[in-house]
């Protein structure tokens, strides 16, 4: 089975989001970058499914050359191959991103194609909730979204999505696109040795192709909303504060 997981390089956010002066992006100079949490689970699932069923796990991202760092994180999690669709770092709209990914997947597919294509349900930063669906449509594959449990049996994907009071169960034939949520699995920690090996591995870089970069939805600027950062009322220090806590809980009618 050939499995593909797509991922996106996003800034770490820490305790407070700071924007660059031009309000076009997050100032990531202090905290660096990571990948969207849902996608760590997509990579884990790709690797785990290949461990169970045999085959190979591939990684794909659209982003700046620095996104190589996130691809290597995935390789250290035991993915087999990684490809970067290299941009100049400007943000692409969800439609253009899907265009470029679908085209990239076509080029990577060779004669074999992929049996299972995994995406995060939404990226941590832009959260457009549509790239996986659009790629599936372009490739002509069925797609389910928001999946938190996945089994592959005899060419069928059995996928579960949480709804109030239970789970919806979908069964769909492979090849299929599945967008996943954190909680799907527990992503493995890469060992130091795996990280060292991932550093030596080759990653492929390709030029992305898409009709248009904006695609009808264009970011103008970002805004960090006002938050009420007035300091908390300090009730006390250590266990001596317990009477004050109880009093506060009583005032709030919690006890």
């Amino acid at each position: 089975m050939r499995v593909l997981a797509c991922l996106k390089r996003v800034p770490n956010t820490g305790a407070r989001i700071v924007l660059t002066e031009d309000e076009q992006r997050i100032d990531a100079s202090g905290l660096g970058f990571t990948m969207s949490p849902h996608e760590e689970c997509a990579i884990e699932e790709a690797v785990a499914q290949v461990e169970t069923h045999g085959g190979s796990a591939h990684l794909l991202t659209l982003g700046p050359s620095e996104a190589d760092e996130q691809l290597r994180t995935g390789l250290a999690m035991q993915a087999d191959e990684a490809t970067l669709l290299e941009t100049d770092g400007e943000e692409w709209s969800p439609r253009a991103t899907a265009d470029a990914l679908a085209d990239g997947i076509d080029r990577l597919a060779d004669d074999e194609g992929f049996d299972l294509l995994l995406f995060g349900n939404e990226s941590a930063d832009a959260a457009n909730y549509q790239v996986g669906v659009r790629v599936a449509s372009e490739l002509g594959y069925p797609c389910v979204t928001g999946i938190k449990d996945l089994e592959i049996e005899d060419g069928t994907a059995i996928a579960r999505r949480e709804v109030p009071g239970g789970e919806e169960v979908y069964e769909l034939d492979l090849p299929a696109v599945v967008t996943v949520k954190e909680g799907l699995n527990e992503p493995r920690y890469a060992s130091m040795r795996a990280k060292m090996q991932a550093r030596q591995q080759d990653t492929e870089s390709m030029e992305p192709r898409a009709e248009t970069r904006a695609g009808g939805l264009e970011k103008v600027r970002l805004e960090a909303p006002e938050t009420d950062d007035s300091p908390a009322e300090i009730l006390g220090e250590g266990p001596e504060a317990v009477p004050e806590i109880v009093e506060t809980l009583a005032e709030e009618e919690v006890v």
Partner: protein, 326 residues
Amino acid sequence: MILALVEHDEGTPEELSLEGVAMARELATAEGDSLEVVAVGDEADALGEALGEHGVEAVHCVAHDRLEGETYAPDAWAESVAQLADDCGATAITGPGTDRGRDVLARVGTKLDAPLATDCLGVEVADDGAYELRRNRWGGSLIEHARLEGNRKLLTAAEHEFSSEPAASAVEATVSAFEPDLEDDDLAVRVDRVEAGDEEGISLGEARVVVGGGRGVGSAADYDQLEELAELLGGTVGASRAAVNEGWRPHDDQVGQTGAKISPDIYIACGISGAVQHMVGCKGADSLLAINTDPEAAIIQKADWAVIGDLHEVVPALNDALREAD
């Protein structure tokens, strides 16, 4: 015409769908256009009565024998919406801020080759006809100002940003059936069955009191104290992503951008630093009490009350006091 997708329970519209209708109504008013609704599912024809007072002039009930019952088949829903939009010349299609709303609208976007803006906080119509909108990023800790252009614009509303109250003036809504042409491919993805979850305890989303534990808790066993506090207060326990990553709690307990969104009367955050990823999940809490050793922690800035101290000392003492008072 502005077309709003509405989810309903046997003819009673869902609250988040009414919020989506409110966003659509703002657009219809700005454009001087009519507001119409599309709905799938049994007894959708009963929606006419409820939606007239929300300013909806027409309700289109998708009627197809393969969509009867409670079947959710996202491609078939999207195909129906897209065909209806073509038939009646919709210039914008809105959806509710739900998993289904975003799922269906994304698929409508592929069928109409149209752009989609999700999680919108507000929309205005610019002179050139484009929509100037604000939408959530990072679970709402950042706002994107964006332009949405094209003959067909798709949008979903952010949760609880638009009112679900009736419009200033009610209208009479006509109700009609819409029969889409559906093919086997449109039904390839569908809910095969729904499995009931185990309804143990109070769910995080509905709890009136949540006791959260973060990295400062230190181990899985140390959550016992938090469990006890939650029980004494009639609440439930949550966890930060850091604690879940440590394997101390299951992901179901995670509060945050990629976990549960909570809205309790009080959230008691123990040993939690206050990272953006976590605060997005608990911003719906009416009040916040932080217990933390670090007076400089971000959570102290965001809390209403704080106790500076080790949760391993404070929480057991608090539990003792609450038991005695009982």
